[in-house]
Symmetry: C2
């Protein structure tokens, strides 16, 4: 249905993330994938939501828009994990993942995904925030997860759709898909609002 | 890891639901599946959580326990949808699904999964409740979903893991997996608490 409504547009997902590919496909959308190579750096003064949208915008901007067709839409996103004011990035190795998961254990943190939807004449930036509550994780649960799932490509060192999400999350407030990496409902709404007719 | 801790036990999932098979597998558990044939009827006086646990218990009890081995654990569950006091069952056809989704549109409802974990000497009953908020769904979104996903085996006429969950749910409070059909974290905890050692 969404394809029919957006049929004039060619949609590009600017992301290497297999989770985002999966989520956008489940939304029922046809799209192409372009990899971006953006350093995940940002000015110190930004708040967590500003960081997420700043990085999403940077990814969208990294696509060469000189050759942008009139009816092309780029979707880019960045997901960050914020724990008591501290931003947890992607862990570089086992030790960093261990440190992050020990910090998250027994606490509530925020997962914020910034999204940039960009066409030749318009750019839409927004973010969606969700609250995730981890139970107290024990050492062998954390060790088992890192050893078997190697969450080194994931902000905060975990994936909610993986084993640790099944056994470790006591409560979610917000959107599961947003925590996975893309707030699909809001992406769907923005696409229809801006590039199609509303029902 | 969970298999190692529960290695002495043979686990039986008493459910035809492919969602429950998937969720228990993702938990990392080895188990067998037995189909149950239970009429989803319950006394009028029960509250929504009581209905869910009553039906879960009925499913677990339907397994012939005379031939139950000492180290066997049966897991059964039932998921119900409760909207402003009304229980929405499985829609029998297109019209019933349409009616249900129109009722859910723009409102908050509760999804309650009752679980029964039963071994030869012990029976554990509990329920987990989650709040789901639907946006205002338009007629062609509802029609597209029912026509393409035929949600006739799902309480309330929808699956949160399907297209309508992607585009239609504005907020979730609780557990995504519970809404899908099995509160895996709580099942994991109860299994470890009762049949293994705690970490």
């Amino acid at each position: 249905m969404i394809n029919k409504r957006l049929q004039d547009f060619k949609i590009i997902l600017a992301s290497q993330s297999s989770r985002r590919h999966y989520l956008l496909k489940e939304l029922g959308l046809d799209f192409e994938i372009i990899s971006t190579d953006v350093r995940e750096e940002y000015p110190d003064i930004l708040t967590p939501p500003e960081i997420a949208t700043f990085l999403a915008e940077k990814k969208a901007e990294s696509i060469d828009t000189l050759r942008m067709e009139e009816k092309m839409i780029i979707i880019a996103a960045d997901t960050i994990v914020s724990l008591e004011g501290e931003i947890l990035g992607k862990p570089g190795n086992y030790e960093e993942a261990l440190t992050m998961l020990k910090k998250l254990s027994g606490k509530q943190h925020d997962v914020i995904t910034g999204v940039c939807i960009k066409s030749r004449d318009k750019k839409i930036l927004f973010h969606v925030s969700s609250k995730v509550y981890f139970k107290e994780l024990c050492d062998d649960e954390i060790d088992y997860y890192i050893t078997n799932f190697k969450p080194y490509d994931k902000a905060g060192g975990y994936g909610i759709q993986e084993w640790i999400g099944y056994i470790g999350i006591s409560k979610l407030e917000g959107s599961f898909f947003n925590v996975m990496g893309l707030p699909v409902k809001e992406v769907y709404e923005e696409l229809l609002k801006n590039y199609s007719y509303l029902c």
